[in-house]
Amino acid sequence: MKNSGLKFLLCWLATSALCSAHAAAPLQVTDDRGVVVTFAQTPQRIVSLLPSLSETVCELGQCQRLVGVDRYSDFPLSLRALPQVGGGLDPNIEAIVALKPDVVLMGTSSRAGERLQSLGIKVVALEPKSHADVKRVLEKIGQVLQVPDAQRVWRVIDAGVAAAAQSLPASVKQIRVYFEVNRAPYGAGESSFIGETLTRLGAKNIVPASLGPFPKLNPEFVVRANPDVIMVGDRDYAGLDGRPGWSSLRAIKEHRVCIFTAAQADMVVRPGPRMAEGARLMAQCLQGKAS
């Protein structure tokens, strides 16, 4: 056991030629579409078409292997210097091929996956949506990139979320929260990624799991639920208190509305490795607005 671990380490320190000699058995990964992707060698050139996947690659310390990203991948900042190959749903196929990637990481809902595969490019489609998915995606990408410490990275993130929860006094823990995803209005339900974070922080969500992850709500529903705290992105905040009947909401009367900037909202809503930062932001909000 110990011996194989040492070999693995040596393998990493050694040149890639030595490495491929050791890694005789090809690596097989099953992605979220159920497709089995086989790698003869550890991929060195990666294109990522989903911000949370780009962040995951970097969190695993493999940022330098990214050769291209989608236009929404903006963290860490070094990614902005990489070639952008369009969006996850409307990528420029030719630009991706020109980067000669060993693997393309992307979501499951894009038509681009089939096309890239037919051009002989390996595609691993992963769709993180929940806390459990963040862990799973970390492990999957760790497996693809042959990075052994995905588990450790996950433990750090998980501990970060737990620490954010523990920072809250017991009195704050029965607050009823409404998280507005956008002004349609869509709310974040208990089963969504955001809802999971809220639950871990001990706060109550006015949108029950039975309504699904991101239900379109009747504004009346929010008025009747009368949340203690409202969380909203700054883009959707304008006019919130002017909605019919909303001016009488406790959260609005007592100025208990947390407004996240776009950069903060990314941490809060992206099912990626910055979820602990997101949880910390939400904990700060709960502490500041509810005491």
Binding site: P83, V85, L89, N92, I93, E94, S109, E114
Partner: protein, 340 residues
């Protein structure tokens, strides 16, 4: 007599011009993209450059032509069949049907990727095609056949609205698929490969031959249904065949490239603004015009903000609409209510 001769010459000239333009655009298409012209120069030495030119640029350029040609053909058939200048390929509900198919496929992909292996195999392309053709069948069912043009039109509108509403509902209930749906609705030629190209070309060939063989029915219909019937044409069967052509052409194009706006509506009008001709020629010319229009739009789509891409549907609307508007104003200026 001389006028007819002149129109025929105009039609031949237009056809030739469009063909030449197609070839020219194909050549430019091979050299425009994220990496620019150097890919063509390096194609023989660099396998990746070769792949870019041969496996990406050429099929997508040809594919754009084929999809545009299918839509132009379907548009000409629809306008002839319904004797309505506003008819377009999506008239019988195919667009909404395709949207619904894709949105359902996306929802089931997203929710349980392992439970729906058959759906994965069908893919978004298959779902779009099934949806488009299914919607037309539903329209035929609701209209109880093809005898009544008005009933068919109304049934098409109803199917379009209802299926469209369901597609919107799906997007509302599962907002995760909204962006993917928007991408589909704007249309893209970026994912067309050789297989798709071959498929569309085969369908185009079939549709053009069938539509051309039935074009005298469309000529007859343009004189009114009673006149057409009195000419002894088996109208019912011909209509079924023409609707099948329309559904097949539209479904194939939509499945591969998404809902591309305006090509089907504009192409026949653009042809008519140049020359007056019978449907046999009109169908072929509208097809060529649609192909050229979409090919040009595809080229601009990848060139304007390279290395990123614009959705091609935005450009077809702007290009086709702008050109049509210009023609309209020019013809009213010169002939006081001419071609359009």
């Amino acid at each position: 007599m001389t006028d007819i001769g002149r129109q025929q010459r105009m039609a031949s000239a237009l056809g030739l011009g469009l063909l030449l333009l197609s070839v020219a655009l194909l050549l430019i298409g091979a050299s425009v993209g994220s990496t620019g012209f150097e890919s063509v120069l390096q194609a023989w030495s660099d396998p990746v450059a070769m792949q870019i030119v041969w496996d990406i640029r050429l099929p997508r350029t040809l594919g754009a032509w084929a999809a545009g040609a299918l839509l132009g053909l379907a548009g000409a058939v629809a306008q002839g069949l319904f004797r309505n200048p506003l008819a377009d390929p999506y008239l019988l509900g195919s667009a909404s049907g395709a949207s619904l198919g894709v949105s359902l496929a996306l929802v089931f992909f997203g929710v349980s990727p392992f439970a729906t292996q058959w759906l994965v195999r069908l893919g978004l392309t298959g779902a779009a095609f099934a949806g488009a053709v299914g919607a037309v069948l539903l329209t035929l069912l609701l209209a109880k056949g093809v005898q009544h043009t008005l009933r068919l039109l109304l049934a098409g509108v109803i199917v379009g609205v209802v299926l469209g509403a369901f597609a919107s509902l799906t997007m509302l209930m599962v907002p995760e698929v909204t962006q993917a749906m928007q991408a589909f609705m704007l249309g893209s030629t970026g994912f067309v490969g050789w297989t798709a190209c071959a498929l569309m070309s085969a369908v185009w060939l079939l549709c053009v031959v069938v539509a051309w063989m039935l074009s005298h029915a469309l000529d007859g219909l343009s004189l009114g249904e009673a006149t057409a019937a009195s000419l002894g044409l088996p109208l019912a069967q011909m209509r079924v065949a023409l609707i099948a052509v329309m559904a097949l052409a539209t479904g194939s194009a939509v499945a591969q490239t998404g809902l591309i706006a305006f090509v089907g509506l504009a192409a026949p009008h653009l042809v008519r603004s140049v020359t007056k001709t019978k449907h046999g020629r009109l169908i072929f010319l509208a097809s060529l015009m649609g192909g050229v229009l979409l090919m040009a739009a595809d080229m601009l789509a990848r060139w304007l903000i390279a290395p990123q891409e614009l959705p091609v549907g935005v450009l077809t609307a702007v290009l086709g609409g702008g050109y049509l508007l210009w023609l309209m104003h020019r013809s009213t200026r010169t002939s006081k209510g001419g071609a359009l």
